[in-house]
Amino acid sequence: MEFLVASSIGLLTMCGTYMLLRGRTFPVVIGLALLSYAVNVFLFAMGRLTIDMPPILRDGVTEYTDPLPQALVLTAIVISFGMTALIVVLSIRAYLEIGNDHVDGCPVGEPSEAGDKN
């Protein structure tokens, strides 16, 4: 199971990083989402992988799973969900305002305006 979890985190991170480096906003949003999935699974696995164990210490319970990463990952999920919603709205707004969906605001092949303005 360790191999499965580790390689899925690796695969998600790889795809996420690749998408993040694309030039248009849509792949970038997908890349960020994949990256946050990878991070969530990673964080979850940091409490060690155990199956069928209670996450709470009680009398008579000797084997248990670490509850803290589960709480952490819940916070991380909420934040990354909100942030994905924000960036989707932001990219639509940028597309409508600038007229194209490239992250640096100009289509492929045309020189960036940023150089002149800075």
Partner: protein
């Protein structure tokens, strides 16, 4: 101080909610609420600094959960000082914005209060994961503020700013996860105890986690090579927001100082001063890059943004030396560079709005309204930022140079700081002479249609300059306070005992 420690977080949070829910249709009431809350925050911060000056670190356990199981806030000299800095800067920014800027979009004051809440929380927290949460709070508010009163250029820069910070947040979680996996704790004081005890086989994992975290803090602090977001963001953000962002880079510097002096300080065994070899070269390059940018800038706002990068380089050079002298010098420079950067952004906006269609481009244009007054303000702020006498930038750089004498890299530090100071003077001198001097000889006068020139923004900008003057005049008591702060940072025993109770000295690794 008991419950007062949590006030700098609760007060802006309540106020922000109140502004959104109760007075969102009335801009005047919003301003009154926002300014009053910021003044009250300043009063609380003064009380906290006075308390921290006379006492050791004090802990506040949220919901009374005992450390290290619950989340704690810790008040010590450093965090009290940073909260006061935030409050003073915030007051200047909210006064500046309250004449006209806050009408260009919605919910400026609510977002502003949430931003203050996030910044104060990041300074006060004693828990690494809670630091992540407050980073998110301040970032979410900053996204809103950055896009305030949008526009194509600002949306483009804002998009890039959001993407890089979301990536940074992901990395933050990876670093935090690795640290937790190895040490089993996220409480900073407990981390200081657990780090030296880590098994040899896990040391590499902990080191990797700590360095990933360092990378995230460096993104916040705009250190080369992860500084690329800053010029575009700051130059395109609304002026009061850019001035407020002067504290955001300092949050990164503060986090580096806190985590790597407490958790990975001199008691950390193999991992003692883990951050030092990475930050110092990067900081020297940052300073050089920033000042080269100042020379090359074609717009006033990007000139100021690059000078902020340069000042972060200077600040992180002194932090990276990790000696009591360099830290106290660096903290003095931190106060100075925050106010100098904020003052420049505010004055830059005053100038750009008066130049009408010419905006903030560094070219010759006819004389504009209040040209003389603006020239004086710009001159004072530029002297501060470039580090020339008599203002506090000079004292700060002098202290840093003095503290760097013993370092192995002293030659590099001295030569880069001195050469870049000259470059800064040339850059600011060129900008000032183009904007004010050469323009004085051009024909005609710029008239901006329908413009009124309220006094409040000028007062706010003057307030930032007055803070620079106060730093200079009261340099002796302030450096005394900084020396106490640096000593407290190096003697981690008090901090750990304040959080975890009276644990035996053997556990402290001494």
């Amino acid at each position: 101080m008991g419950n007062w420690i949590v006030v700098p977080i609760v007060l802006p949070a309540v106020m922000a909610a109140l502004i959104v829910l109760a007075v969102r249709h009335d801009i005047v009431l919003q301003r009154i609420f926002s300014i009053t809350a910021t003044v009250a925050l300043g009063a609380v911060a003064v009380a906290l600094v006075i308390f921290a000056d006379g006492n050791g670190p004090e802990m506040y356990a949220l919901s009374d959960w005992p450390a290290p199981f619950g989340i704690v806030l810790v008040l010590d000299r450093l965090s009290a000082m940073m909260v006061l800095l935030t409050a003073v800067l915030g007051l200047g920014v909210v006064l500046f914005a309250s004449s006209e800027w806050d009408k260009r979009g919605q919910h400026f004051h609510a977002l502003f209060q949430f931003q203050l809440m996030g910044v104060n929380g990041a300074f006060l927290t004693g828990d690494v994961f809670n630091l992540f949460v407050f980073f998110e709070v301040l970032l979410i508010a900053s996204y809103g503020l950055m896009l305030h009163g949008a526009g194509a250029e600002r949306l483009k820069a804002g998009m890039q700013y959001v993407v890089i910070n979301l990536t940074g947040s992901s990395l933050f979680l990876v670093g935090v996860g690795m640290m937790y996996a190895v040490t089993g704790t996220l409480n900073m004081a407990d981390l200081a105890i657990q780090v030296p005890l880590v098994a040899e086989g896990d040391a590499a994992l902990l080191r990797a986690g700590a360095l990933i975290l360092l990378l995230v803090f460096c993104v916040k602090a705009a250190l080369v090579p992860v500084h690329f977001w800053l010029p575009g963001t700051y130059a395109n953000a609304p002026a009061p927001v850019a001035a407020l962002f002067a504290i955001m880079t300092k949050v990164g510097a503060y986090s580096i100082l806190r985590v790597y002096s407490l958790g990975f300080g001199e008691n950390a065994g193999d991992m003692a001063w883990l951050a030092q070899p990475y930050i110092l070269p990067a900081a020297i390059v940052t300073l050089a890059v920033g000042m080269i940018g100042v020379l090359a800038a074609k717009r006033l706002n990007s000139l100021i943004a690059f000078s902020v990068i340069g000042s972060m380089g200077t600040l992180l050079i002194s932090i990276a030396l990790f000696t009591p002298e360099s830290i106290s010098a660096g903290l003095y420079y931190l106060l100075h560079s925050t106010f100098a950067g904020a003052a420049l952004f505010l004055i830059g906006d005053l100038v750009a709005s008066r130049r009408g269609q010419y905006g903030d481009r560094l070219n010759t244009a006819p004389v504009f309204h209040q040209s003389g007054l603006m020239a004086v303000l710009f001159f004072i702020a530029a002297i501060g930022m470039a580090g020339m006498p008599p203002l506090s930038g000079f004292i700060g750089k002098l202290l840093i140079l003095d503290a760097a004498r013993e370092s192995d890299a002293a030659i590099w530090i001295w030569s880069v700081i001195l050469v870049t100071s000259l470059m800064g003077i040339v850059g600011f001198g060129r900008a000032g002479s183009v904007l004010f001097w050469k323009s004085a000889s051009a024909e005609g006068v710029i008239e901006v249609e329908g413009a009124q020139w309220p006094v409040l923004p000028i007062i706010a900008a003057c307030g930032m300059l007055a803070a620079l003057v106060a730093l200079t005049v009261f340099a002796a008591p302030i450096t005394d306070y900084m020396q106490g702060t640096a000593a407290q940072l190096f003697d981690t025993t008090d901090y750990i005992r304040a959080v975890l109770g009276d644990i035996p000295a053997a556990q402290l690794g001494q």
